[in-house]
Structure formats: C-alpha cells, structure tokens
Symmetry: C2
Subunit: 284 residues, 2 copies
Amino acid sequence: MEIVSQHACFGGLQQFYRHHSNEIGLPMKFSVFLPPQARQGQVCPAVFYLAGLTCSEETLAIKAGAQRVAAREGIILISPDTSPRGAGIPGESDEWDFGVGAGFYVDATREPWRSHYRMFSYITCELYPLMVERFGLDRNRVGIMGHSMGGHGALVLALRRQDLFRSVSALAPIAAPIYCPWGETAFTRYLGDRVENWAEYDATELMKRCDHAPYPAGILIDQGLDDKFLAAQLNPHMFEAACAQVGQPLTLRRHRDYNHGYYFVSSFIEDHLMHHAGQLQRCP
Amino acid sequence: MEIVSQHACFGGLQQFYRHHSNEIGLPMKFSVFLPPQARQGQVCPAVFYLAGLTCSEETLAIKAGAQRVAAREGIILISPDTSPRGAGIPGESDEWDFGVGAGFYVDATREPWRSHYRMFSYITCELYPLMVERFGLDRNRVGIMGHSMGGHGALVLALRRQDLFRSVSALAPIAAPIYCPWGETAFTRYLGDRVENWAEYDATELMKRCDHAPYPAGILIDQGLDDKFLAAQLNPHMFEAACAQVGQPLTLRRHRDYNHGYYFVSSFIEDHLMHHAGQLQRCP
C-alpha cells in the first residue's frame, strides 16, 4: 500500500493510494480523506463512496466538494476506482459504459472478465478490511453511498453486506439495473445470459427479497428531473416500490432542473454526508 | 454569445459560454455562475476569477467548490479561459507554462503572439462590458480574484483598472513575475527583451508606483507553505513589502502543509468570496 500523493485540504488530508489487489490480481487505486479529527487520533465514522461510469478514485475528491463537510463532521471518506485497469482484455477500453471505468461493482463469472473484474469482492473482502486495519475504522460506524453506477453499487453492497454497512444513500443510482440497457449489457457480458443470476446485483430485486426493512433508520436517494438518463436507465420508482413493499423507509427526493453530473452531486453531497453522520453517530 | 452547456447547481445555474472575441480574433470560452438571487432578477455583486497555468474556464466550476458560497451570498462568478486557443502559432501548445493555457493576462507586443494573445484587453475591454450588458452587473460591485498565474492576473488587472474593480484577492499568486522564471520566460516572449516594458504587468512594481493605497479596505492573499512553486516562482514577500511601502492593507496568510493545487484553493475559497462579499456589499 503506497501513497501516490497527498494534499492538505480543509485541515485534513486528501490521500491517494495504490496497492496490489489479490481479488483483482492487478494494482488498484483508491482515495482516502482523513478529517482533522482522524489525524488527531480519534476513531471516526467512515463513508465509502462509489463513483459512476468513466470515473475513478479521484472523482469524488476533485469534483464533489465533500471534504469541507467531512472535515467539519469528522468523517473518513474512502473511494475506490470504478474497475480494474490494465487487465489487457481486448477491447476493454472501447466502450465508456462497459469494461474499464465500468466494473458495475460485480464479480464477473464469464470469460474473459472473470479473473480480474471482481469489484464486489474487492471492496467488501479486501478494501474494507484493509481500511479497518490501516485506519482503525469502527465496523459499527461505516456507511456507503454512490452516484449513478456507484449508486447501484452502494445499494447492492449495503443490501448484501448489512454486516459491513450501517447506513446507505445514493445520488441518481441505477436503481434496477436488470431493467435498463446499461445493466442488461453489463450483466450479460459479466454474468452471462441467465437473468436469474443477475438478481443478486439488482438493488430493487434484493430489496423485494427482504422480509423486513434492512435499514430501518431510512435510505436517502436524490434524483434530478432533468437527468437525461432518468427515463431509460435509472428507474428509482422501481426501487421506491420495492421499499414500500418491504416497509423500508426511503426518502426519495426529485429535484427539478438538476441533471446527472457533479453540479448535481456537489449540490446535495452535504445532505448525504449528514444523513450518514446522523445514522453513524455513537458515543465514542 | 452562445451557451455551450448549463447545469443547475445549488439552486443557481452554472453556465458555459462561447463567443467570438474581437480582441483575441478567435472564439473564446468563459463560465458564469448565476446565484438564485440573480435568476430571480436581483442585481448581484460579481467576482471575476482568473485561473492558473494549464487551466480553463471550467476549472473554477469543477474543482473549487465556489458555487455553494456564491449561491448563499448572491454572488455572480465569471471565469474566462486562460489563453486564446486555436491561434495556429507553431509550438503554441508545446509548453505547459507558455502559450496555450498560459496567456499570463498580458497583451503581447511581439510576433508571433501579438495578434491573438491579448488577454488583458480581452478581459477588461471586452468580457467585462459584455457581462455588464448581458447580466446587468453593477460596475460598483465587481471584484476580481485568481489563483497562481490567475492571481498575478487578478492583482495586475485590479491595480491597473481600479475603475473596473472594487475588491481584489489572490490564492498563491505569481506576485512578482519579473523576478521569477515563469514571468521572465513569458514576458520575454510576449513583451520582448526590455525589462522596463514588463513592469506594467508586475503586481509588485505596480503597487510600488502607487502614491496611496489603491484598495484601502484591504487585499487578501493566501499561500500554502508546502507549495513547490513558492520559493522560485511566487514571491509573495515582495508584494508584501510593496504594500507596506505604500500603506496598502494586506492580509497575507501563510498556511502550513498546503500545496499549490485545488485542494488548497477549495479550502480557502469561502474566505475569499466572503472578503469580496464584505467589500462589495451596498444597499440595493
């Protein structure tokens, strides 16, 4: 685990790391923002942030304006890259919505993807324990959030690994990937033709299977109504219906005029970090 | 004047424009953030932001996190590109610190630069009046700030055009370009060998020539002490001495650990916008 660069920011430290991932079988990068409280030795709550298509471990740090709030609230921010890079699979960089930059937070089961494209296990079984070990995360105070493809990832990881995450939120998530072109394309190629194998990576299907609310304190989702991907790709109403069916409290806010990008994300990131801060707060 | 794109952001509107510039003789781009108050028809104070080497009209909007404060305080943010693009001068893109992305906010007098590289006149004589005309700026409530090369630009424009600007601040400015390699290289090629022709673009020299404090309410400068360009290129102490000589109030804050980039800029942008808001406030 090697520091690529680090930068003082709002009294904390924005760090970029590279390490060899056993799950991925390649070097992987991630970013960590340490608030001043963590630098002073306090055990702080942490939030994983999963980024969207074409993004990287740098996107949150550069574009979201999250460090100000994280510094004030004493939250550690951890953001992994969005896919393996350098696997050498022919054509892996040819499409912006599949392959490099588009790992969809799944463990691929099909060739030629299955040996490297294992973002689900990378984050849950390797990066998370590494963060606990190196930064002393309190496993009872870790949340997860994400944007777009990363919103899908955050919801899926939170629903499948409730042992790891205590709070979850998403910005413009791909909320029912089975039922949208992005998800169909990616899941067919990463997971194969059999749709029954896709459900474990679909937040709406996972929620429907719950016999009680998995996050009783509530899930927060923000969605822009001028988002060009909303109608065809995102389907927040399907996740909303699944939450209602299960009795899962959901705050789904629909915002007129906002589109899909980081001008939207940055406008609402403070609300998301406060959502996590509120749910993760405990006496020290 | 054509809108390239616009995005809802913090209740305001982040816009990107392209227009034909008569001063530059080429199309130029700039960005405007309109706070909610401006969209509702209020006349708002405005701050021009000049970006640094390699940056563009997008940099402030993407990296600085300024819209949140501008939306709260009702400030219009205007940020031009950092040089002409597409002039077709051989080698103009070969160096990151000269030519494209490095206009140094001067009007070049030497071939082959002098017909297009006219950023000083572009901003003061063309973009500023255009903004007054199109966005109804109140000429008594316009400030200017910048980062690095843009900090140099902001100080120079503010000192030479006190009729246009009422407040000025800078983050890690090239504060005495005559006495640093970046400035020597750029001014030699844009302005020629005669150093006496450079002084009108050197904030420290311009300040020394003042017979009274040009900004009696004070100038704000922030500087990181872990900035790798500080020792060789920036020279804030020379500007500080010139201010002292003239009686110009200057708040020059030196910050341990901070470097030259936008993790530094974003950490202190709120203080700068509040500096301008305080000096530009007037009864409506």
